[in-house]
Amino acid sequence: MKNTKFLETGSGTGYYGLLILLGAFILAGLSSFFYMEHNGHWVTGMTNQIVWGAPHVFAIFLIVAASGALNIASIGTVFGKQMYQPLGRMSALLAIALLIGGLTVLVLDLGRPDRLIVAMTHYNFKSIFAWNIILYNGFIALVALYIWTMLDPNPAVKQFYKLAGFAAFVWRLILTTGTGSIFGWLVARQAYDAAVLAPMFIVMSFSFGLAVFILVMFATYTWTGRPLGDAVVRRLKNLLGVFIAGVLYFVAVHHLTNLYATKLHGIESFFLRDGGGFTQAFWIGQIIIGSLLPLGLLYCRMTRNSRVWIGIASALVIFGGFVQLYVLLIGGQAYPLTLFPGYEVSSSFADGVINSYSPSLPELVLGVSGIAVAMAMMTVGMRVLRLAPVSLADEVIDPHHSK
Amino acid sequence: MKQFKQLLAVTMLALTLSVPALAAEGRTPLPSVPAAKGGQCVEDTADMRRNHMNYLKHQRDATMRQGIRTEKHSLKACLECHAPIEEASSASAGKSEGHFCMNCHEYAGVKLDCFECHATKPESNAQFHPLVSSSSVSFKSVEKADSAELLNNLAATSEDNIGAAHE
């Protein structure tokens, strides 16, 4: 770490071209927001039964990935692993960028986004949502401080490096617990209402955050032509494999536990067997494509050393993450609330029926623009700050590399 | 600072409104503030101009959270006197042009949030504020009016009448 050289990424047609592309997506997202806010949510696919839709899937993915992206920096600072330390600056900025992207989508989807100041000044401290607002803002501030301790060579600042790293690490664990608890603390809905959702979200954040980091790292080092050694890639891909397995474990525990409760058989068969699109999404999208396939690609002898395949595996993990959140968020709302156990129910307000949802274009565009915001922040951040190491080649960064 | 700015804005407004003769010369646009029913407001005019937002905000919390429904500062009661009593058209140059609140707020450039939720006109069988005399009540023509249309018409009307003296 002491001897690693960091340098801003260069500018050129590629840099500006990327910014223009991302800017186009951001502009599209803003137009979607104006359209949705001006007309009201009737232009979206969200209804009184499915109240959180595509924008929330994107927002929660970005927020969860944000906290996980900080993992690399934490492993370097808090756990002292030398190989991760040069990656710490990029990791920290990625965390902030993803969080801001996610929050952008979340805030712009509010029914009254003009009341954001109200949200920042009126707090109901029994609400985990209110705590999350505080946690998100604190996270941005804390990680910014952390980056400062990493960037500034002044010893008066550097002495706080470990403390800042530790504080950021603890804060993000609380934050992700909070994000998981947004769902975990909902007693009303059978798909949520589970303590396991909080730790599950933490492991999900490890997995999604690392997958995004790997892709960002690949893109940065390929497009700037800087060397990226196999040692780093191998370490990160093994770590990703462990995290994917962790997520699978929590998903399995969640469903197995629910299956034991007779009253939850309805919702479990909805997710696992009878839910049509949701069942397919769960098994094929989340489990096979999103977890088992990347796990295979990362460990199978033929593909595990190929950067292309590792990149594909990371992309599949990200895809699987979106599907997982889609199944959890939308599927959890699609299944009707059980007000009268043992009865068939019908009413004029969609009691007793599986609710349907199809996302509208403005919602999807808004969601994608959140990703664009995050990537734009990363692009500009690495250009103006010394975040990316000049070289990640084996001989430079691997402490065990034989000379 | 905020108080000072409010005072300044209100003073400017008060000055422009109280010198119609000068304005009729044509250079300074004025808001056309429709006359209200009843002899006088629940508070002094100058006081109201400065503080109506505070009264309303305090009242709304008292009503909402504690169920205190005194009429003095209630928005619903304000509308009983200050709501337009005729459907406005650009031809009508009578006493009620425009929506009382919207006209002034558009002039001052202060966006109103209230009427996204609150009705812009009182209900036809509302109990009237004691200050309203029975002779000035006539709501039949308003019953059918669509508030949004009313507001749009009246916004157009107020633009037509910029510069006209406040009757």
């Binding site: 609330l337 009691d351 | 959270r65 609150h118 209900e123």
Partner: protein
Amino acid sequence: MQPMNEQMQPDRARREFFSRSAAAAGVMLAPGVVLYGVAQAKPADEPVTSKVRWGMLVDTSKCNTDCNACVDACNAEHGLGNEKHSREDQRSQYIRKVELKHKATGMTHSLPVMCQHCETPPCVDVCPTGASFKRADGIVLVDRHICIGCRYCMMACPYKARSFVHEELTDQKPHTPRGKGCVESCTMCVHRIDEGREPACVEACAANGSRAIIFGDLNDPDSEISQQLKNYASSEIRADLGLNTGVRYQGL
């Protein structure tokens, strides 16, 4: 706040005339309202207290499948249904009729479901700004001045009682302000209760002849509703959640 200016006091005679004629109009205009067990309206300038807890009791055996009087009355009272663009599943409903058929025994029920005005409402717990709140007298409301439209309360409500306004609205009723981007639900006709009247659904049900819904003060042991709850079996929907709802049901 300026102290009240003595010279601005309205003419006493005018005030008395108006309040008397309004009272007379109220009595004439309200058909078939049965006023047992309803506490007298508190004075307008006093805050509500927790001495009173308002509740409703639904006797499902008196409720007909074909009757929608409560729903129609509620929609009319609050000006619901004035959404021009929203799809069917985006329109607000404060109260709905639910038809039940037991899967094992075949027994059927018909009953209205609205906000249950829980004693420990999950919607109040989860609201980030505190816009969803419970008044001292037990009525659960949305303070639409600070609602940011996040819809978390809609996720949290075990009874799916809340609706979101999906478009710009006009022609609201003055006593029920409602607008785009805020969440809303049954207010137990709080504007009526504060005047000493009953909720619109209760009134309509009584006018219809069924009198399946009654309203009253749960804290008053002599009120009709308290007597009914004491002497005949009743239940809460989703009683296992332990929310101690203000709305209870007989015959389920």
